[in-house]
């Protein structure tokens, strides 16, 4: 192995997320591909000077299992994988990521400072332009931040990524982002919040026609479920190395692998164990698995039959999560012992692990007043890979402790809109800013009521407490909040998702940070 690859591996080893992922991947037998891929990934800091000498070349086609949420490009309204990919390629944010170690660096802001728990002062970078040639100004930043920080905005991202807040212009190159309450994840939020031209915000109907950003790639087209972006030669850090990136929606899992194996596609995203097995030992491919904070969980509705905490805890003991992950998900997952993902900052295993113990489950059920007479409803579909198999296993485990489960099979669209009418439904949750605050936000207020039928007044103050804290104290507060929710068992925390991406070895220097989007794509290049 050459020195360059060794350096890359050493850096990778220092990243906890990558360690977690690699162990799991070894279990799937895809390690050979990983080592080649990771070895070729140089974690160099982004050098503007070096990049400016580049002439963008080549096209990388990314095969996704889902299309964009819709053909409108207001990143603050949508939460899909492809929406995040577009946001990270076409737009730029005040802060951002330049390396896989997930260190936040200045992007549209060259400098920033937390001047108080509620105020972040940022100096805007000189000479940055949007794709239409207009300069990125303090007015654009203010328009963007004021919009997402406005509780009346109705934007889906409001409150989950950025709570109530606004932006003050100090001078033409200096702004202050102010939140109504102390907000611990402010830097992570600013690193995923795209800055739009104020003119686009003033005419929101434009979002259905175009995506104008200041990012490394320009939006070219969206036709027939293919999004094409091309290199922005005027990107402030120098042009990207790739000329074109195509985000292609290939619905069928086998078709995605076939496209990859035949060379029509260079990267396929969120792969299953079967897909990984298809490239096992093949030097033409490598695997990158740096997941965002994502969880596969069986959501309980905490009203009706599952209103009592003891009943929900009994389900935790009744179901062998590790067995399901090993036997059905084939190791492409990691069982958590807290209510947040294992790679989340602040994650700690809770002392009560709710590990498989059917006898204890029966005791708890009896204590809750159920003695072989509990019937639960479950909806199943194909939203999660191998969902039917996982759901069947859950049903079997519950039957073993005397719980009857009525299963209804729904088409995906119906499932997504009626899941909270069933006691049990498998789903996934992901954080878009690599902060557990996003996930914890699900368990309070109207969101908790809508998703879990959960209404526990103790949770909101715990969420506020971790938001108000900084550093080590914040990590402790995150764990405190996660532990409280874990004890409530509002869901079966089946597994983290590892998000393995299979990449053609023709694509070099491809890396990911633990986000949904692709902020490092600008550093990737492709062999002819």
């Amino acid at each position: 192995m050459d020195r360059r690859k060794e350096q890359g591996l050493d850096r990778i080893r220092s990243v906890a997320e990558a360690e977690v992922s690699r162990r799991a991947l070894l279990k799937t037998g895809a390690a050979a591909g990983v080592s080649i891929g990771i070895g070729s990934w140089m974690l160099r800091g982004f050098s503007s000077a070096a990049a400016q000498g580049n002439v963008p070349t080549g096209t990388v086609v990314v095969g996704n299992a889902e299309p964009p949420t819709s053909a409108q490009w207001d990143s603050y309204s949508v939460f899909g994988l492809v929406d995040a990919q577009v946001a990270s390629l076409v737009h730029d944010s005040l802060l951002g990521y330049d390396a896989t170690d997930a260190t936040i660096v200045g992007h549209l802001a060259s400098e920033w400072e937390l001047v108080s728990p509620t105020t972040t002062k940022l100096t805007l970078r000189e000479g940055v332009k949007f794709h239409d040639g207009s300069p990125v100004t303090a007015e654009d930043v203010k328009a963007t931040i004021d919009r997402i920080g406005n509780p009346e905005s109705g934007l889906a991202w409001h409150n989950l990524i950025f709570p109530e807040g606004s932006c003050n212009i100090i001078d033409e190159k200096t702004v202050e982002v102010v939140t109504a309450k102390p907000f611990g994840p402010i830097e992570k939020a600013l690193a995923v919040m795209p800055i739009f031209p104020a003119s686009e915000i003033a005419t929101p109907e434009n979002f259905t026609k175009q995506a104008i950003g200041a990012g490394p790639f320009k939006f070219v087209s969206y036709t027939e479920n293919k999004i094409t972006v091309e290199a922005n030669p005027d990107y402030w850090a120098g042009p990207p190395k790739l000329q074109t990136v195509v985000l292609d929606y290939i619905q069928d899992a086998n078709a995605r692998v076939s496209a990859l194996l035949s060379g029509q596609c260079d990267i396929i995203t969120r792969c299953s164990a079967e897909q990984l097995a298809r490239v096992e030992g093949d030097a033409n491919f490598y695997v990158v698995d740096v997941p965002p904070l994502t969880q596969v969980l069986c959501i309980y509705q905490s009203n009706g039959n599952l209103a009592k905490k003891e009943t929900r805890q009994a389900l935790g003991y009744a179901i062998d999560r590790q067995g399901i992950v090993d036997a059905i998900m084939e190791g492409v997952g990691k069982v958590p012992y807290s209510s947040i993902a294992t790679n989340a900052p602040g994650y700690e295993e809770q002392p009560e692990r709710f590990e498989y113990n059917p006898e204890k489950a029966k005791e708890l059920l009896a204590a809750a007043g159920y003695d072989g007479n509990l019937t639960l409803t479950m909806a199943t579909t194909s939203l999660v890979p191998k969902q039917k198999e996982i759901d069947q296993a859950i049903v079997q485990f519950l039957q073993d402790v005397g719980i009857t489960v009525d299963v209804t099979t729904l088409e995906v669209g119906a499932y997504r809109t009626s899941y909270n009418q069933y006691d049990l439904t498998l789903n996934t949750l992901a954080s878009f800013d690599y902060d557990p605050d996003f996930i914890l936000g699900f368990y309070a207020g109207p969101t908790a009521e809508a998703v879990f039928h959960l209404n526990d007044p103790a949770i909101a103050p715990l969420i506020e407490a971790q938001r108000a804290a900084q550093g080590e104290e914040r990590l402790a507060k995150i764990n405190e909040c996660a532990a409280y929710i874990w004890d409530l068992q509002p869901a079966l925390y089946l597994s983290d998702e590892l998000w393995p991406f299979i990449v053609s070895s023709k694509v070099q220097d491809y890396g990911r940070v633990p986000l949904v989007g692709e902020p490092l794509m600008r550093m990737a290049m492709k062999q002819a």
Binding site: P67, T69, S70, A71, Q72, V78, F79, G154, L155, A156, L160, T208, T223, E224, N225, D248, I250, Q251, D252, N254, A255, S258, A259, L261, S262, G263, Q264, C265, L410, E411, V412, G413, A414, R416, T417, S418, Y419, N427, F442, P446, T447, A450, V451
Partner: protein, 307 residues
């Protein structure tokens, strides 16, 4: 004859109207709010209401139906919830590819059926007849998705001769065409073989042979013309079915046709798009059946008289 045609056209228009109404009602009775599908699962009621207002699903059903029906005469089927484009232009993009795939598949299947079926009828249990029976059995027992997968594995992944997915020009048509043709071939083959066997056993064929008319002329000019009638029925049904969306094949090959668009539309509860696709495919099916009826009249004078 004109009266017959007008009667059939009127019947078909009535059928189309019934289909339009049924689709409109069924889509809205099926669980699934398009606003909830588009919005994240944790979207507030305010966000959902914004989407509902944008989609027009916040108005009473009669109002939605009125808006929908009033647009049809103008060819305005509404704007897709997901693609934010007029649905008609989306269908215009996709329909030609499905038409090409359907027609190519049908031409291949019918050609093979004619060659093998006629030869098989002329020499029952000869090697060509046995090949036909084997092909027929294979086509009927092998699911289309499996055939498609095998074709991709061999010819795209292993040999690299053809694109595995998508549409990159005429070359992308070959593998899906074979997969679809294999699915419709068995019926065509059996129909033409049976019909030819029956035709070749008729008195007029024996008479023609007695008059010394060449065997080739008897087979292709006399027997085949009569045997073609049931084949035309089957081909008409096949064509209508295939134009309605070769859904499985389009998914396996990620072929950007009408079938795949239909799946996306249903999953997204994209009412205008589902409605328009259904109307267009139903109209095609009805039209093809009308053409088949007319062809019958041309080919069989007895039908003309009774009609």
């Amino acid at each position: 004859m004109l009266g017959f045609i007008l009667k059939r056209v009127f019947q078909n228009l009535l059928m189309l109207a019934a289909i339009v109404l049924a689709v409109f009602v069924l889509m809205r009775l099926t669980a699934g709010d398009p606003a909830r599908i588009k919005a994240p699962i944790f979207a507030s009621e305010d966000v959902l209401n914004q989407y509902r207002a944008q989609f027009g699903t916040d108005t009473p059903l009669p109002q939605q139906l009125k808006t929908f029906l009033s647009g049809i005469p103008r060819g305005d089927f509404g704007t897709s919830f997901r693609y934010q484009e007029p649905v008609f232009s989306l269908i215009q993009q996709r329909l030609p590819r499905t038409v090409i795939l359907a027609v190519c598949s049908l031409v291949l299947a019918v050609s093979l059926a004619l060659v093998i079926g006629v030869a098989g009828a002329r020499k029952p249990y000869g090697w060509l007849d046995r090949l036909g029976l084997a092909l027929s059995a294979f086509g009927q027992s092998a699911p289309t998705f499996w055939v498609g997968l095998m074709l991709v594995l061999v010819f795209s992944v292993q040999l690299g001769w053809f694109p595995a997915v998508g549409f990159e020009g005429p070359i992308s048509l070959l593998l899906p065409t074979i997969a679809v043709a294999l699915a419709v071939l068995p019926t065509d083959l059996r129909v033409i073989r049976t019909a030819m066997l029956e035709s070749l056993g008729q008195d007029y064929i024996r008479t023609a042979k007695a008059f010394g008319i060449p065997d080739r002329k008897i087979t292709y000019q006399y027997a085949l013309r009569n045997a073609a009638l049931p084949l035309i029925t089957v081909v008409g049904i096949d064509l209508g079915y295939l134009l309605g969306g070769t859904i499985v094949t389009e998914v396996v090959f990620n072929y950007p046709g009408l079938g795949q668009l239909a799946i996306d539309a249903v999953n997204a509860r994209d009412y205008p798009l589902v409605q328009a696709i259904t109307i267009v495919t139903a109209a095609i099916f009805v039209f093809v059946n009308l053409v088949v009826d007319l062809l019958y009249m041309v080919l069989d004078p007895r039908i003309r008289i009774s009609g």
